[in-house]
C-alpha cells in the first residue's frame, strides 16, 4: 500500500481552517523562520479517510480477531467507555491549577480521588497516585518512591540492589536500573516459582526492593509470597508488586494483605481500557501508608467539607513523574468499567479469566509440552519443544495462526521457557471461540509433524509475507526519504 506521502499532491488540503478576523501581524524576523514549510502530506479529506480506513483493515484487533496475547490481557473494550471519556475532552488540565481552579474541576478531581480509593480497595493499598502514564512508568515511579523511602531513613547509599526473579517482565529490571539500582536475578525453581533458597541467599541489607509479579509470567501463583515478603522486610527491603497480572486475582487476594508495599496497576489490562495499538496505557501506583509522604504531586485530597483540593507543596514528595494527573482519559474508562462491573462483576472477571486459561491448558496439553504442569491462573505457558523436533519453532506456529485468522499468543516470553507460547484468552471470550482456536492449535501441532514446510511458509493470506528484520535493523530506514 502506498504511503500517505506518495499520495500527496501539492496544493491539496484535508480540512478547512478558520479564517482570520484580526489584522495580519508584522512578520517575524527571517532568522526565526523555517526556510520552507514542513514536508507534510497534502491530500483531500476523502483521500485521507480512505488511506487510514484501508490501513486499519491491515490490522488484527480484539474487535475483529481472537487475540490471546499472553501477559497483555487483550480483553474486549466496552464501547460505553469510549463515550464516557469523550465527555471530558474540553477540560484544560491547567484549569485545576489556577487560583480557585479546584472548584471548577470538582468532577474530575473527585473522580480521580474515587478511582484511587477503588484501586486501593482492590489491591489492599492505602493510597494511589494516578500520575504514571503506563505500566513501566508506574514501575519507575514505584522504585523512585522506594528510593525516597530509603533516603529518608538515611540509607540512600546503603541500598544498592533490586532483586527480581528471572521470570519477571523485562521492564522490572529495566525500570529499577533506570532508577539507579543494580539488579540481582533469582532463578526459577523446577516448581515454577522463584527459588526460595536462592532468594534467601540473595537477600542482604543492601537490597532496596524485591519486584514480583503474582501470579507470575508462567501464570502461577506463588504460595510462599508472604514468607518472601517477611524475608524482604527483615532486610528493610520493600516489596514491589507488578500489577500486570492483577486481572487473575480480583477479590481473591489483595497484594497489600500479603506483604506488598508498592504496586502498579495496568488499567489497560485489568480494567478493560483499549490498548490503542501500543498505547495509551496508564499505570497508577498504590502504596502503603509509610510511603504516602513521597507520592508525586499534584496530590488530590478531600477536605473536611467533602471538597477536592490539590495539596500544597510537600517537600518529601519525589516531585512529578508526568505533566498533570496522568492519562486522564484512560482513567475515565477504567473508573466507568469498575463502577459498571462492581464487586460481583470484577470477581467474575477473574474467575472466568482463570477458567478460560485452564480450559485451554487442559485441552492443548496432549499436543504441546507444558513445562510447568499445574493449575494456572489467567494464562498458561506451553513450549513448542516437541514441534522443534520437526524443525518447527513457536514463530512458525504463530504465522500459521495468522493465516487462520487468530492473533498469535505471546511467543518467546517468558525467556525461561524454551520456545514459549503464552496464551491468555481473557474472560470475555466465548467457549465457542476458544474451541475453534484449540482446534486450529491442534491442527498446527499435527501439521508440524506431517508438513513442517507449510508452517515455515506461513503466512500466505496476509498483504505481506514474513519480513526481513535484519535488513530493517541494518538499514534503519525509519522515515520516508524525500
Amino acid at each position: 500500500m502506498q504511503l500517505i506521502y506518495e499520495k500527496s499532491v501539492p496544493g491539496r488540503r484535508g480540512v478547512k481552517l478558520p479564517a482570520s478576523d484580526v489584522p495580519a501581524a508584522a512578520p517575524l524576523p527571517a532568522s526565526l523562520l523555517r526556510s520552507a514549510p514542513a514536508g507534510l502530506a497534502e491530500v483531500s479529506e476523502l483521500d485521507l479517510v480512505r488511506h487510514f480506513t484501508n490501513l486499519s483493515r491491515r490490522n488484527f484487533s480484539v474487535d475483529t480477531n481472537f487475540y490471546p496475547l499472553g501477559s497483555c490481557t487483550m480483553k474486549y473494550n466496552a464501547k460505553v467507555l469510549e463515550n464516557a471519556a469523550a465527555l471530558f475532552n474540553p477540560l484544560h488540565p491547567m484549569t485545576a491549577l489556577l487560583p480557585g481552579g479546584e472548584e471548577l474541576c470538582q468532577g474530575t478531581l473527585g473522580m480521580l480521588h474515587d478511582l484511587g480509593g477503588l484501586l486501593a480497595e482492590i489491591t489492599g493499598m492505602d493510597e494511589v497516585t494516578t500520575q504514571p502514564l503506563a505500566g513501566a512508568h508506574g514501575e519507575m515511579t514505584g522504585i523512585l518512591l522506594v528510593s525516597a523511602y530509603h533516603a529518608a531513613r538515611g540509607n540512600k547509599n546503603k541500598k544498592k540492589y533490586v532483586v527480581v526473579p528471572d521470570s519477571s517482565h523485562g521492564t522490572n529490571p529495566a525500570s529499577a536500573a533506570i532508577a539507579g539500582y543494580e539488579i540481582i536475578t533469582v532463578p526459577t525453581a523446577p516448581y515454577g516459582d522463584m527459588d526460595l533458597e536462592l532468594f534467601k541467599k540473595a537477600m542482604t541489607d543492601e537490597v532496596a526492593a524485591v519486584m514480583m509479579t503474582c501470579p507470575n509470567t508462567l501464570g502461577l501463583f506463588n504460595p510462599h509470597i508472604r514468607e518472601i515478603s517477611e524475608i524482604a522486610h527483615s532486610h528493610d527491603a520493600l516489596m514491589y508488586y507488578d500489577g500486570a497480572n492483577l486481572n487473575a486475582i480480583m477479590g481473591k487476594v489483595k497484594p497489600g494483605d500479603v506483604g506488598f508495599d508498592v504496586i502498579h496497576v495496568n488499567l489497560h489490562k485489568t480494567f478493560g481500557t483499549p490498548h490503542g495499538g501500543g498505547g495509551p496505557g496508564s499505570g497508577p501506583v498504590g502504596v502503603k501508608k509509610e510511603l504516602i509522604p513521597f507520592l508525586p504531586q499534584p496530590r488530590i485530597i478531600k477536605d473536611s467539607q467533602g471538597r477536592f483540593q490539590l495539596e500544597a507543596r510537600r517537600p518529601t514528595s519525589i516531585g512529578r513523574t508526568a505533566n498533570f494527573f496522568g492519562n486522564f482519559g484512560v482513567m475515565v474508562k477504567a473508573y466507568a468499567y469498575i463502577i459498571m462491573l462492581g464487586r460481583e462483576g470484577l470477581i467474575r472477571v477473574s474467575e472466568q479469566a482463570v477458567l478460560n486459561a485452564n480450559y485451554i491448558k487442559e485441552r492443548l496439553k496432549p499436543y504441546y509440552d507444558l513445562p510447568y504442569d499445574q493449575t494456572c491462573m489467567h494464562e498458561c505457558v506451553f513450549s513448542a519443544s516437541r514441534q522443534l523436533a520437526h524443525g518447527v519453532h513457536a514463530i512458525d506456529i504463530s504465522k500459521f495462526l495468522i493465516d487462520r485468522g487468530y492473533h498469535p499468543p505471546t511467543v518467546y516470553f517468558p525467556m525461561i521457557v524454551k520456545e514459549a507460547i503464552m496464551i491468555e484468552p481473557t474472560e470475555t471470550e466465548s467457549k465457542a471461540t476458544m474451541d475453534e482456536f484449540i482446534e486450529v492449535m491442534i491442527e498446527a501441532a499435527q501439521t508440524a509433524e506431517s508438513n513442517p514446510q507449510a508452517l515455515h511458509d506461513a503466512p500466505l493470506t496476509m498483504p505481506i509475507s514474513r519480513l526481513d528484520e535484519t535488513k530493517a535493523a541494518r538499514e534503519q530506514n525509519v522515515c520516508c526519504q524525500w
Partner: protein, 448 residues
C-alpha cells in the same frame, strides 16, 4: 446482576469446561492460593447497567466548569481538531490492537507509525524519530537520559525558561542517579546566555532549551548549538509542534535531539491526557533512543513492509541493560497526530501557525495598551506572551474566572518575583470578539 455481556459463558458451558479441566467448581481453580492469603474483604459497590454508568459519568462531567473561554496554555493547547480524526482513530482495528509484535497482521499500525515518524522528522528537520513517548514532559527527561548515554557525562544544563513541569520531571527522574542538573535563571523571559557560558564546559552532557519557551519567547539557537558542540555536549530543544508551521526547525538550528508534546496535534485537552511525546534526533544517536522504533524492510517476495526494529535495545531482550524501560508508546495518540498533520497538510500547518500568531499579536497589542499592563519580554513571541500586571496575577485571574474567562497562567507558583506575571495563550479558536471581551475585563480588573 448478570454481567454476561462481558463474561459470556452460560452455566452449562461452565460445567462443560470444568469437567474438561477435571475440577468440580471454579473456586477449585484458586486452590493454589493458600487460605491464609485470601482476601477477607472486597468492599466495592454493586455493578450498574450501561445506562446508569454513562449517566453517572455525565453527572461527574457536569460537576466541572462549562463554557470557560480559555487563554491558558502552558504546554497543552486548545486547537481545532478535524472531525476525521475521531472517526479514523475510532476505527476499532486501530484502537483495540496492541503493540505490533506480529508484523504480518499489524501492517496498519506499523505503516501509520512509519508515516508518523516521517511527519515528525520533517516537522523538526531531524533524521530519526521513534514511534512516540508518553508525553512532552517525560520526553524531556528521556532526552536528557539519552544524552547521558551518548556522552558518558553526568551534568545537564537546563534553561529556566523550559516548562517548569518538564524541569520537575527531569529532576524526579534523575534524583537517585549521580547526575547534576544545573538550572539557568531566566533573563527577561529568555535564556541567560552569559550565565550559560559560565557553566558550559566539557563535563556537560547536554543543554536543554525550549522554543517558544514557557514565557512564549521565540529564540534562534543556531549559534548556541555551535557553542554546545564545541565542548562536546548535545543541544536538546523542546518544541511546540504547531509553531513549527512557521518557526525555524530544530534541525535548521543544529539541534541534536528535539522533543515535545503532541497534544496540540489533534488530541483533546482531556484534563491533561492521554497525549503523546515525540523525540527525534540526528541519525548517529538512534541506538540510544528510548522506546519503539518502526523501520522499513521487505518481505520474502521483495514487497515493502514495516517492522519494529532495533529491538535489541529494548528491555524484553536486554532486561536491565536496556536503553530505557519504555515498552509501549502512545500509539493511538500518535496516530491522531499523524492524521492531524496529514489533514492540515504542508501549507495548512503554516497557515494555522500564522493565524495563531496573528491572533496573539492582536491580543498582545490590545492588552498591552491597558494601563498597568506591560509585556515582559522584548523578544518576539508566537501564540503565547507574558504580561506584567500592576496587581498580583493570581487575584486578577481568580476574579476573571468568575466572569467565565481563564485569563492565563500566573507565574508566581513557578518563578520567584513573578507574582505579577501572566502567560496568555491565544490559539486560532479564539475570536476577536473574545479577545476584546478579555481586554475589557482585564482593564476593569486592573482599574478597580
Amino acid at each position: 446482576m448478570n454481567d454476561s455481556h462481558y463474561c459470556p459463558h452460560t452455566p452449562e458451558e461452565i460445567g462443560e469446561m470444568l469437567s474438561a479441566i477435571g475440577v468440580a467448581t471454579v473456586e477449585e481453580l484458586f486452590s493454589p492460593i493458600p487460605a491464609a492469603l485470601r482476601a477477607q474483604t472486597f468492599n466495592l459497590p454493586s455493578g450498574l447497567s450501561e445506562f446508569e454508568t454513562f449517566s453517572r459519568m455525565q453527572a461527574i462531567a457536569g460537576d466541572n466548569v462549562q463554557g470557560l473561554t480559555s487563554f491558558i496554555g502552558g504546554g497543552f493547547y486548545d486547537h481545532v481538531i478535524p472531525s476525521v480524526i475521531d472517526h479514523l482513530s475510532g476505527r476499532a482495528e486501530f484502537y483495540t490492537a496492541y503493540t505490533p509484535y506480529q508484523p504480518e497482521c499489524s501492517q496498519g499500525t506499523l505503516q501509520a507509525l512509519f508515516e508518523y515518524q516521517t511527519a515528525i522528522c520533517r516537522l523538526t528537520g531531524l533524521d530519526v524519530s521513534n514511534a512516540s513517548l508518553y508525553d512532552g514532559g517525560t520526553a524531556c527527561a528521556e532526552s536528557a537520559m539519552m544524552a547521558l548515554r551518548v556522552t558518558g557525562r553526568n551534568r545537564i544544563i537546563v534553561d529556566g525558561c523550559v516548562n517548569p513541569f518538564s524541569r520537575q520531571i527531569l529532576k524526579t527522574y534523575l534524583f537517585n542517579l549521580d547526575v547534576e542538573v544545573v538550572e539557568i535563571a531566566p533573563l527577561d523571559g529568555m535564556l541567560n546566555r552569559a550565565e550559560l557560558a559560565n557553566v558550559l564546559d566539557d563535563s556537560v552532557a547536554a543543554v536543554l532549551v525550549q522554543n517558544p519557551n514557557f514565557f512564549g519567547s521565540v529564540d534562534d539557537y543556531t549559534a548556541l548549538a555551535g557553542q554546545v558542540h564545541t565542548v562536546g555536549a548535545l543541544l536538546i530543544a523542546s518544541v511546540y509542534p504547531v509553531s513549527l508551521g512557521i518557526l525555524k526547525s530544530p534541525g535548521e538550528m543544529g539541534v541534536d535531539i528535539a522533543v515535545g508534546d503532541g497534544q496540540s496535534l489533534g488530541n483533546p485537552l482531556s484534563f491533561g491526557g492521554p497525549s503523546f511525546g515525540f523525540i527525534t534526533a540526528k541519525k548517529a544517536y538512534i541506538r540510544n533512543m528510548p522506546g519503539r522504533i518502526v523501520g522499513e524492510t521487505v518481505d520474502k517476495s521483495g514487497k515493502r513492509g514495516f517492522v519494529l526494529t532495533l529491538q535489541a535495545r529494548e528491555q524484553h531482550i536486554k532486561r536491565h541493560k536496556a536503553t530505557s524501560n519504555i515498552c509501549s508508546n502512545q500509539g493511538l495518540c500518535a496516530l491522531r497526530g499523524l492524521i492531524f498533520l496529514s489533514s492540515v497538510g504542508r501549507q495548512g500547518l503554516a497557515d494555522m501557525a500564522l493565524l495563531n500568531r496573528d491572533k496573539a499579536e492582536y491580543a498582545k497589542a490590545r492588552l498591552a495598551a491597558i494601563p498597568g499592563v506591560t509585556v515582559l519580554q522584548s523578544a518576539p513571541t508566537f501564540n503565547e506572551f507574558t504580561l506584567f500586571l500592576s496587581k498580583p496575577a493570581e487575584a486578577v485571574v481568580a476574579g476573571m474566572l468568575k466572569e467565565g474567562i481563564a485569563a492565563g497562567v500566573p507565574l508566581g507558583d513557578y518563578y520567584e518575583n513573578l507574582g505579577q506575571a501572566l502567560v496568555v495563550t491565544v490559539t486560532e479558536k479564539r475570536s476577536k470578539k473574545e479577545i476584546d471581551h478579555f481586554a475589557q475585563l482585564l482593564e476593569a480588573a486592573l482599574c478597580n
